[in-house]
């Protein structure tokens, strides 16, 4: 057994363990921490494949930015462990609980089988030295996948606008009842914490 193989087995096991523990926690902060563990292990797998850039981006974007935001929201809502989650599921819930993972595994099998691995790879590390390098990813992003990239940007913008709309509707209610003449409720979001 080579060192590469051992590292892959360990990091894959840690990634699966983190993902499993994430959905089994009642405490939301513990869930986030297990998700970070899983992401770091996945980054190790990417690095082993030679895709250093993707591994680093996984840490910078997901672990470094998005999950900090998750943690931030959990802190602001002050969610501790939620005893309601231990209540028994409705009958349909059990069906979904089993069906969705099975569907996902089947789907993943087809994706991996048809799209990602058309030729049989040799060994753990791929043959192509440029696989996942900054240049390859950037070239693909700005040539072949230019329109999907732009569309994703628009999609994210729509999501942000939607979030702002939802957040505003909630804060509009107390403003009518207090009937304050000044616009104190219209402070920008960034001063709320101060």
């Amino acid at each position: 057994m080579t060192l590469d193989y051992a590292i892959f087995l360990i990091s894959a096991a840690v990634a699966v363990f983190g993902a499993t523990m994430m959905i089994m926690q009642r405490n939301p902060v513990a869930s986030v921490l297990y998700l970070i563990l899983s992401l770091v292990a996945q980054a190790v797998v990417y690095v082993q494949l030679g895709a250093l850039f993707l591994g680093a981006i996984l840490i910078v974007v997901y672990a470094g930015a998005i999950l900090v935001l998750f943690l931030f929201v959990i802190m602001l809502l002050n969610l501790r462990s939620n005893p309601e989650l231990s209540a028994s599921l409705p009958p349909l819930g059990w069906f979904t609980k089993v069906a969705v993972p099975v569907l996902m595994v089947v789907e993943l099998y087809f994706v991996v089988d048809r799209v990602i691995w058309p030729p049989v790879p040799t060994g753990i590390v791929g043959k192509n030295p440029d696989f996942g390098s900054v240049e390859t990813v950037a070239t693909m992003m700005f040539t072949d996948y230019m329109y999907p990239l732009q569309l994703t940007g628009v999609l994210l913008l729509v999501a942000v606008v939607g979030a702002v709309v939802i957040a505003r509707r909630e804060s509009a209610e107390p403003r009518k009842t207090t009937a304050s003449p000044d616009n104190r409720n219209e402070q920008p979001i960034d001063t709320v914490a101060g």
């Binding site: 902060v29 513990a30 680093a56 840490i59 672990a63 930015a65 931030f72 602001l76 914490a193």
Partner: protein, 335 residues
């Protein structure tokens, strides 16, 4: 194979002990410099010129009682100091501290790991640093800790974007993400030994880098997360003994890490005439550290809304403008 592992292990040990010693003596430097700027003398009694003061502080902290308040979230409370300490130390894995040298017939590069995405690795590590602070604030049963943690995470997320954008100019000009290559590009070509340093080509980028770096490391005048006059100690209010000192070491290790990266990216790394490369590197890191302390002794603290507005409405547009300007310049000059 075995020799490589051994050489790397020795290098890791040397860099780690150098960083930890530098952390301890940064506290001494800070107290001395701030004291003299305020017409005081600073630590004086432990050893000659008070030079043993960091040792005395370390011993004092180690022998203090480790108090754990009631109602803490035990696991995250214990995890937080470690989560803030580890990424700070890991930054030094890719910082080139010297040129390569030959020793007993082995070619030894002057860096622990010459990663070809070194710059991204550093951003990955600095972006993980916020977890220690957030977890500390969340798991302590105290409003002050919570406020400190919320302020800190908002501040670090806001300034991280400008921090990242401030060095994109260098990456565009240098066309690489490897720190070793960036240092090699800044080697002297004539008697003007600093002519190729990126501070000359990217003066605005340098100013943005320093400003964002100070905010990233929560130092004065951006030290809102631990504003003593409002929040007691901020996120580490409920910590004592060695756990507190881990936060303390982590803060100084972050400062040193950011200083070392700044010296590498903007001040030519270990390049310089006459003196050995390691000495040049240490001089540049020292200059950064002195600047940190100097600014702390000079400027009053920002108000929180000023801090946020400064980050989003001044630094962020400037960083974007710098990136765009550099890109246009590189295309027009045909490099």
């Amino acid at each position: 194979m075995l020799e490589m592992i051994l050489i790397t292990a020795v290098k890791v040990f040397m860099v780690l002990s150098a960083v930890l010693t530098a952390c301890a003596y940064s506290t001494y430097l800070e107290r001395k410099v701030v004291a003299h700027m305020q017409h005081r003398v600073g630590p004086l009694y432990a050893g000659p010129y008070g030079l043993l003061q960091p040792l005395a502080d370390a011993v004092k902290l180690a022998f203090k009682e480790d108090l754990v308040p009631d109602n803490v979230e035990r696991v995250t409370y214990a995890l937080a100091p470690v989560a803030s300490f580890v990424p700070a130390i890991l930054i030094f894995a890719v910082v080139p501290f010297s040129n390569g040298f030959t020793w007993f017939g082995y070619d030894i590069p002057g860096v622990i790991s010459d990663l070809n995405i070194g710059v991204l690795y550093i951003f990955a590590m600095t972006s993980l640093g916020v977890y220690g602070i957030v977890l500390a604030g969340w798991s302590s049963p105290s409003k002050y800790s919570m406020m400190g943690a919320i302020r800190s995470s908002a501040q670090m997320i806001s300034y991280e974007i400008s921090y990242g954008l401030s060095i994109i100019g260098i990456l565009i000009i240098g066309n690489t993400l490897s720190l070793t290559e960036i240092v090699a590009q800044q080697a002297a070509e004539s008697w003007v030994f600093f002519g190729n340093w990126y501070i000359v080509k990217q003066p605005l980028g340098f100013l943005l880098y320093i400003t964002c770096a100070i905010a990233e490391t929560n130092r004065a005048p951006f030290d809102l997360p631990e504003a003593e006059s409002e929040l007691v100690g901020g996120y580490h209010t409920e910590y004592s003994s060695m756990r507190f000192s881990m936060f303390f070491i982590a803060e100084y290790a972050y400062m040193l890490g950011v200083a070392a990266v700044g010296a590498t990216l903007f001040l030519g790394g270990w390049n310089g005439p006459f003196l050995p490369p390691v000495i040049w590197f240490l001089i540049k890191v020292f200059l950064f550290m002195f600047l940190y302390i100097w600014l702390r002794a000079t400027f009053p603290r920002f108000r929180y809304d000023q801090l946020m507005q400064f980050g989003w409405k001044v630094l962020f547009p400037l960083a974007i403008a710098n990136t765009m300007g550099t890109a246009v310049w590189v295309v027009l000059s045909g490099q």
